[in-house]
């Protein structure tokens, strides 16, 4: 085995949004789209070692198919230092419509994995009468749903993962903001929450299927002492 001298990595944390058609691709497709965009932008990407070297991109939290976002993060590792504005603008010009770079800053190599930092996420849900339905769901002490994971169905009480419920900007009954556990330790996907609404609160299936789902915040820390990612610059 050849020992490789450690190559310094220059890591840039980019905050991005996605909307429109780009919301309907899966996590792997999103990763590939970022990879190719970064290549188009001509940045010296650092690659992983081994049989199948891949560009070193780390996303804070995978985004499900059909979910848009206004507040997500990816760490990009470059072989050379670049000005953050250059990274942001260069990448923006190479991204397909629907992906936008909102912010960015360099992070130290020793800062730890961005994936491991995530503990909670905020989602904006839009569907007819969703707020009162969620209000009732939050009043329950237990919300046990069937969850399919790795091809197997198992029962899971999601109530402990439901942290808080708020109104949107207006007191609209058709919009709700939920804060849920997220990350590699405990994670509540919004579709499971919608599934619970149809199972326990007579929420119409059609409304759940067409419910707009947008991720609007990612957090680190322990609830209620959460720290918003965008305030960590």
């Amino acid at each position: 085995m050849t020992l490789l001298a450690h190559q310094p990595a220059f890591i840039y944390r980019l905050r991005f949004s996605r909307s429109g058609s780009l919301s309907f691709i899966g996590h792997l497709d999103l990763m590939r789209t970022f990879e190719r965009s970064l290549r188009r932008a001509g940045f010296p990407l650092l690659h992983s070692q081994g049989y199948n070297p891949r560009p070193m991109l780390v996303f804070a939290l995978p985004l499900g198919v059909g979910i848009s976002t206004t507040d997500d993060y990816v760490d990009v590792s470059l072989a050379e230092a670049r000005d953050i504005m250059e990274v942001m603008e260069g990448l923006q010009n190479a991204l397909p419509d629907g992906l936008r770079i909102l912010d960015g800053w360099p992070v130290p190599e020793t800062g730890g994995s961005i994936m491991a930092m995530v503990t909670a996420a905020r989602y904006r849900l839009q569907a007819q009468q969703i707020f009162p339905a969620l209000q009732r769901l939050f009043l329950r002490s237990e919300v046990t749903v069937e969850k399919r994971s790795k091809g197997q169905l198992r029962m899971l009480d999601i109530r402990p993962l439901m942290l808080a419920l708020e109104h949107g900007d207006t007191e609209d009954e058709n919009e709700a903001i939920v804060l849920v556990c997220a990350g590699s330790h405990e994670n509540l996907r919004p579709d499971l929450l919608l599934q619970a609404l149809t199972a326990f609160e007579d929420f119409p299936l059609q409304n759940a299927a067409n419910c707009g789902v947008e991720r609007s915040g990612l957090y680190a820390g322990t609830y209620p002492d959460l720290k918003c990612f965008k305030e960590m610059i």
Binding site: F24, I25, L28, S37, G66, P96, G98
Partner: protein
Amino acid sequence: MNRTNKYAPVVLERGDLLSVENPARYTGGEWGITIKQEVLDEIQRTGETKYIRYAFCFPDIYEIGMSNLAVRILYHVLNQCPDVWCERAFSPWKDMDRLMREKHIPLFSLESKTALRDFDILGFSLQYEMCYTNVLQMLDLSGIPLRSCDRSEDDPIITAGGPVVYNIEPMTDFLDLVMIGEGEEMIAEFMAEMKKYKDSKKTGQPMTRETFLQNAAKIEGVYIPAFYDVSYQEDGTIHDVKPNRPGIPAKIRKRVILNMDQAPYPTQSIVPNTKIVHDRAYLELFRGCIRGCRFCQAGFVYRPVREKSAKVLCEQGIEIEKATGYDELGMLSLSTSDYSELPGLTDSLLSAFDGHHTSLSLPSMRVDSFSLELTEKVSETRKSGLTFAPEAGTQRLRDVINKGITEEDIMTSLALAFEGGWSSVKLYFMLGLPTETLEDVIGIADLVRKIEKLYFEVGRKTGQRMRRLEMTVSTSMFIPKPFTPFQWERQNTMDEFVQKQQILRDRLRSKNIKYIWHDLDTSVWEVVIARGDRRLGPVLLEGYLAGHIFDAWDDCFSLGKWMTILEKHGLKSDFYAIRARTPEEVFPWDHIDCGVRKDFLLRERERAYAEQTTPSCREHCEGCGAAGFGGGVCYESK
């Protein structure tokens, strides 16, 4: 039809998109697409547009269609035409098809989500016969009358092009216009006629569809099926095919691009947001093939061989890699080893991509020491499998089909490969080739066993620690295709094929060998359509109406159901599949001229029976007729 909201975008609900497999097939928004905002603005302002709205239609799913090079080239060519906006549409998979019918959602383009019925023209790219019913699916989902004769003055013009159009007769009921040959130049001339047609609609004297088609028929390579009558003899064969209007050519000659260096080529090609079948950028090294394998339709209809220069390819490769961000560049051609500047091209590209983590892929390579070295150089990752296509098991039969590869070639290169550490080999063969005997079939098994033995001999001789040998042997059924020296041949019967497969299954039992065979049923149907005539139109229509789509997908295909419909229409598959033709017979495709003459094909057929090979175009010109196009390999100094 409600025309008040013409051009209004089709909106799919989130729930609908999430209910189908891979919604990214239907959402568009990829990097590199063409959005002509001026068209949308004009429609916003006036409700109409002077632009020709062209829907480039691929009758299979997105992941397959977007992998096709013709789609990428022609999308680019069309959008370069003045006053044309070309968008894309693909066959919705069965789940989406069902949903669209249930909810009355019309089929739409990916760029502007405009309903296809609002386009001026639908251009279908037909890459294989088994996609025909999907053309009907796309028309039907668009609300466009399926048959050409049922369309009104307001309906879009329905056209097709692609490799299968050399015998498009089974589809002629449904197509207004067919483009024979390479589209690059023809399509620009066609769009100029189309523009006159569209402009006339705003005047007091709109041009009729009939007049437009008559004008278009003057463009070389354009075939208007309705302008030809076919008559049959009592035995079911064709009596003749004649133009039924004055001034219509008796034969339609294919179009070719002679100067490949100057041919338009998209370096800013579309990069899909979702994984597609061939997810890489492409270079097209050359068109045509110098080899002339006698079963291969592409080897004849794409003549003459025309290369792009390494200089142009290198420039295009560098530009494509930069503009698309792809990390793999595929070198496309019918036989990559035959590209005359291959070493120089790969060297320049490899040095240009140094440090980029970009790999080259070289499909369709003959295996020899040069290509092994090259394969090792171009792939940064571990050794992938080697592919051989001897096609036949004995030298006699390989001579019959003019596959210029000997057992010695195979053994020498494989010994080299095994010494170099390769341990995975794929071998492709065909069953049912003309003159094939059971001895030839057994010859396949013998050859495979010899290769298996060779692997372990190499291990013993060199003392290397050998990995587990993985051999994949694949057999497909020979399909006699139009415009090949074998177009007169019969296909084997089902029983013959089954017997031959059984022989191989018995003889290829080994832990090192995996034997896979193509679906028999689809091969039978494919030959019926490939050599079919216009009487198959109503059969295809009935099959479609009975729900048969995606015939190219084995699990969607039912031979039994097609046979029932065929017989209901008084036709027999044996007539098309297992009947040998006499040299005098008029073929359904005889009014199409691909440049290669029939007497040459007959000569090649006689040579096949005499077990004589024919040298490649670079070694010796056999006067096939392709020199009549005035360029390519026919004029290279020998």
